[in-house]
């Protein structure tokens, strides 16, 4: 049976009675068209009996996504390719629109062409011309200065027209601009009334990192956000939480019976969290980085989030606040690193010229847009204690560095040595007696467990062996990009994988003390150095050697 409608994907079509309809979203679970203006309204899926039992997770609802900073790198490399990949998987909600908001003058067609070129390079899903043609129909460009409230009022009118056309007033504002515009964007959203959703709809905001540069600026930004949007409608993105491997930490710990009984100071000797990058300040990154540094750029957000997932107590449920309540308890339990402790517990460093991947690279202070007398760290290593019953006496060694030998983010849980009564007379090279559980966050995502095994033969000799689980070989398919999951969650209103206000502020409180000890100390600890392409300053190795430990070889 074929209707009297003429349907053609990616083209406009004529619907009786002589009413123009436009195809308004790509191959979502359903892609809907309707007349303009709308004669239909949408209700929450939960009220539709035919929808019940379909979803095992909150369902993304039809909405308009407004991206501030639409001409920026993030939009081109991550956000739009993520939306496209979601569409290709058939999970984009029906009647979704994307409106890019930025300062440069251009029309919809130019904007779409630029995004298409970026999508070809960056999307996880293979770029398909037919699908892109349909998907791009729902992308628009709105030109305005971020400071110009009239531009927001014009945006409001445009969104009203879209709402009327679509029958839904849901709006997701994604603040992906340079951080200096965050305040103004939020204030102008409030002034223009865009923060208030029409009755029966929602308005949410996603704020990119950095969420402040210290505690006062984060509190200031939070107060502006909270004057503009309710906390339940605020989604502070930390893309590490969108990674499959980060999400799997809770599954590994709480869905497997064998780990949790051992997950405490009786059995765990120490934990190491490493984020190594084999890049420096390429592509003009030095300008931003030199104002930030490794501690604020990576540790305050990503690495403390990973630490909290490793150290948290089991949540009472998997609700957003159930999980975040437990994570924030960890952050609040971090033992403060005072001015007196900082030299013992923190090592900062800068790379000097060296070699990475066979190429000579300059030192940090010689990099483009970096102050030649910069005191910004490109490497930081910390010894952190979590002052809870479970973790009493267990150090968490956290390190992050640029221009290290390889790119890797990994968490390793080092178990205590077994009682040395049976095999202690057997010679073994190095520190291999303890079991090590490694969670590889990126790349080569997976989990491995190191254990000792007898080498076959008449003599009793032992060597460590690894049991290894790899995402790519077990599951074959590439995991969705972190931004895909996070965008879907924000559209569905699920904040579990987003940072809450108190998490962000408590993390800054911890970091600010270290920054204060570095920069406001009459006798600050030295800025150490390390040749680019090596595993960081010797002082970081010595910090562990003082505890009779070593950094894990990655």
């Amino acid at each position: 049976m074929i209707f009297d409608f003429q349907w053609k994907l990616g083209q406009h079509c004529i619907a009786p009675p002589t009413m123009m309809v436009g195809l308004v979203a790509s191959s979502a679970n359903s892609t809907c068209t309707e007349a303009t203006p709308s004669y239909w309204t949408y209700m929450p899926y939960s009220e539709n009996p035919f929808r019940q039992q379909f979803a095992t997770r909150p369902t993304p609802e039809p909405c308009t996504v407004v991206i501030f900073g639409a001409t920026g790198d993030l939009t081109h490399r991550k956000l739009v390719p993520a939306l496209y990949s979601i569409a290709a998987d058939g999970e984009l909600p029906p009647t979704l629109k994307v409106v890019g908001f930025a300062r440069r003058e251009k029309d919809d067609a130019t904007f779409r062409n630029e995004l298409e070129a970026a999508n070809r390079k960056h999307s996880r899903a293979t770029h398909d011309d037919a699908l892109w043609s349909t998907f791009s129909e729902s992308i628009h460009y709105h030109c305005s200065e971020f400071q110009d409230v009239e531009g927001y009022r014009a945006l409001g009118k445009r969104l009203d027209a879209i709402d009327k056309e679509r029958g839904t007033g849901n709006r997701l504002f994604y603040v992906a601009s340079a951080p200096e515009f965050f305040d103004e964007i939020l204030e102008n959203l409030r002034t223009s009334g865009l923060n208030k959703a029409p009755a029966g709809s929602w308005a949410r905001v996603v704020v990119e990192k950095p969420f402040g540069t210290d505690l006062p600026s984060a509190q200031n930004l939070n107060s502006i956000v909270s004057e503009t949007f309710a906390e339940r409608d605020t989604f502070r993105i930390d893309h590490y939480l969108g990674k499959e491997t980060a999400q799997n930490i809770m599954v590994l710990r709480f869905a497997n019976a064998i780990f949790e009984p051992l997950w405490n100071n009786r059995y765990i000797d120490s934990v190491q969290i490493t984020c190594a990058e084999n890049l420096g300040m390429e592509g003009g990154r030095g300008g931003y980085y030199d104002k930030s540094g490794a501690l604020r750029d990576m540790v305050q957000n990503h690495l403390l989030q990973l630490l909290s997932l490793v150290a948290m107590e089991p949540p009472t449920d998997l609700s957003a606040d159930g999980v975040r309540d437990e994570k924030v308890k960890v952050i609040r339990s971090l033992r403060p690193i005072t001015m007196a402790d900082v030299a013992e517990s923190v090592v900062r460093g800068q790379y000097i010229e060296g070699s990475v991947d066979g190429k000579a690279v300059p030192g940090y202070r010689e990099e483009d847009r970096v102050d030649p007398e910069s005191m910004t760290e490109s490497y930081v290593a910390l010894k952190i204690y979590v002052d809870t019953w479970r973790w009493e006496g267990v150090p968490f060694y956290v390190r992050m560095g640029k221009q290290l030998p390889k790119k890797a983010t990994e968490i390793s849980v080092h178990f205590r040595f077994p009682p040395s009564v049976l095999f202690n007379s057997i010679p073994m090279q190095g520190d291999v007696r303890g079991n090590v559980l490694v969670m590889r966050i990126q790349p080569d995502e997976g989990i491995s467990l190191r254990m000792l095994s007898k080498i076959p033969g008449a003599a009793l000799r032992m060597e460590p062996v690894k049991m290894d689980f790899s995402y790519s070989t077990s599951f074959g398919k590439a995991s969705p990009e972190a931004y895909e999951r996070l965008l879907l969650d924000a559209i569905a209103g699920d904040a579990t994988l987003f940072a809450r206000r108190d998490e962000v502020e408590n993390a800054w409180r911890f970091i600010d003390q270290i920054e204060n000890a570095w920069h406001n100390n009459p006798s600050p600890p030295p800025m150490t150095t390390y040749p680019a392409g090596t595993w960081g300053p010797q002082e970081a190795d010595e910090m562990l050697e003082r505890d009779s430990r070593t950094w894990r070889r990655i």
Binding site: W7, C32, F50, P94, T473, F475
Partner: protein, 364 residues
């Protein structure tokens, strides 16, 4: 390198099954296969048995597995079993091969092992042992039983199955097969969940119909529906009946006493009657199942139909003189291999599955 398994589904010769091996040498031969191929990675998340008692099913099922393994790394056992009388009639032939696919991430060749068996003899004895002896330890067992159940579907086998894949649309005697299925589920120790391809075939239809009722206007119109017609392709009557039963349960309608295989008398919450008819269409399609659905009543018409390309379901809602609302829903799975792949991706229990059967039993 593992044998090339780029097979033509139409090719029913046994050459696509790989290297013939004796049954007592299968594991050693597989080990030798992998030790000789360091560049290929053996992958397995489940044990997946494809079992058929149809003649010459091996090549066809191996071709299906070549597709399915691109989504589901597994230890695959493909079995062609035929009953043969007499003790001397026992015959087992076996072959090994691997289905390799480049993974998206690193361009590595990810390979699923396949062991093919041709079994001739006393199946209740032969099948469980053949299966159990060649499973990858500790991994779940998904068992695709093609066609109606036979005496080999006994408790020794079924108690070890975790996920049972069936296609109830292929059953000649649905009542008898369902009774067998229910009996197996109720046996002590049975733990399998049922993954019926009929449910998968209807997934897009359910989604499309649900999308039609996302607006308060259409939801209010549900009470005014008084006639439903479901068109289905040849051989898909039971699929259409399943859709009718799902709709009935979701909409809160009640089945009245009058019920045949091509019509159902229903009543709504207010007691008003609703007529549901099933009609067979002779369209040729790449996506057999339900071809079109119409729900009509005073001032409301809701329709679903597969579009010309066969890739989408078009839906259209008309209420009064409002301009119509239309939706396109992708038909993500049509072929047998894609249906199985999708079903294995959603291995949870279908909460309504047995309620649908109970509703349908008097009508089939």
């Amino acid at each position: 390198m593992p044998p090339d398994t780029t097979t033509n589904p139409a090719d029913d010769s046994l050459s696509s099954l790989g290297a013939p091996v004796s049954i007592d040498n299968i594991e050693a031969s597989l080990k030798a296969l992998w030790s000789a191929n360091a560049t290929h990675t053996r992958c397995s998340l489940i044990n997946f048995v494809v079992y058929s008692e149809r003649e010459n099913s091996l090549a066809r099922n191996a071709a299906l597995l070549a597709d399915i393994t691109s989504d589901h790394a597994c230890r695959a056992l493909v079995i062609d079993a035929q009953t043969a009388a007499g003790a001397s009639a026992t015959l087992v032939k076996s072959w090994i091969t691997a289905h390799c696919h480049l993974n998206q991430a690193g361009g590595k060749a990810m390979c699923s092992e396949q062991i093919a068996f041709q079994l001739r003899g006393n199946l209740p004895k032969l099948v469980p042992n053949t299966v159990f002896a060649h499973l990858d330890s500790d991994l779940p067992l998904a068992f695709w039983w093609q066609g109606g159940f036979s005496s080999a579907f006994d408790s020794h086998l079924t108690r070890r199955i975790d996920r049972l894949v069936i296609d109830s649309a292929s059953w000649g005697d649905p009542q008898r097969e369902f009774a067998t299925l229910q009996a197996a589920r109720q046996q002590s120790g049975a733990r399998f969940i049922v993954l019926d391809l009929v449910s998968t075939r209807l997934f897009a239809h359910r989604l499309a119909l649900a999308a039609c009722f996302d607006t308060p206007e259409t939801l209010a119109g549900l009470d005014r529906i008084d006639r439903v017609t479901i068109h289905h392709h040849a051989g898909q009557r039971f699929t259409a009946q399943t859709f009718a039963a799902w709709m009935t349960l979701k909409a809160g309608w009640n089945l009245e006493s009058s019920c045949t295989s091509d019509s159902m008398q229903l009543s709504k919450g207010d007691g008003q009657a609703l007529q549901l008819d099933l009609l067979e269409s002779n369209e040729v399609t790449r996506c057999p199942g339900v071809s079109a659905v119409t729900l009509s009543g005073t001032d409301i018409d809701v329709s679903l139909a597969i579009d010309d390309s066969g890739r989408y379901l078009q839906s259209k809602v008309t209420i009064g003189d409002r301009p119509p609302l239309g939706c396109l829903t992708p038909l993500l799975a049509c072929s047998e291999a894609s249906l199985v792949s999708q079903r294995l991706r959603q291995p949870g229990n279908d909460a309504l599955y047995f309620r649908i059967w109970n509703l349908l039993l008097p009508c089939i």
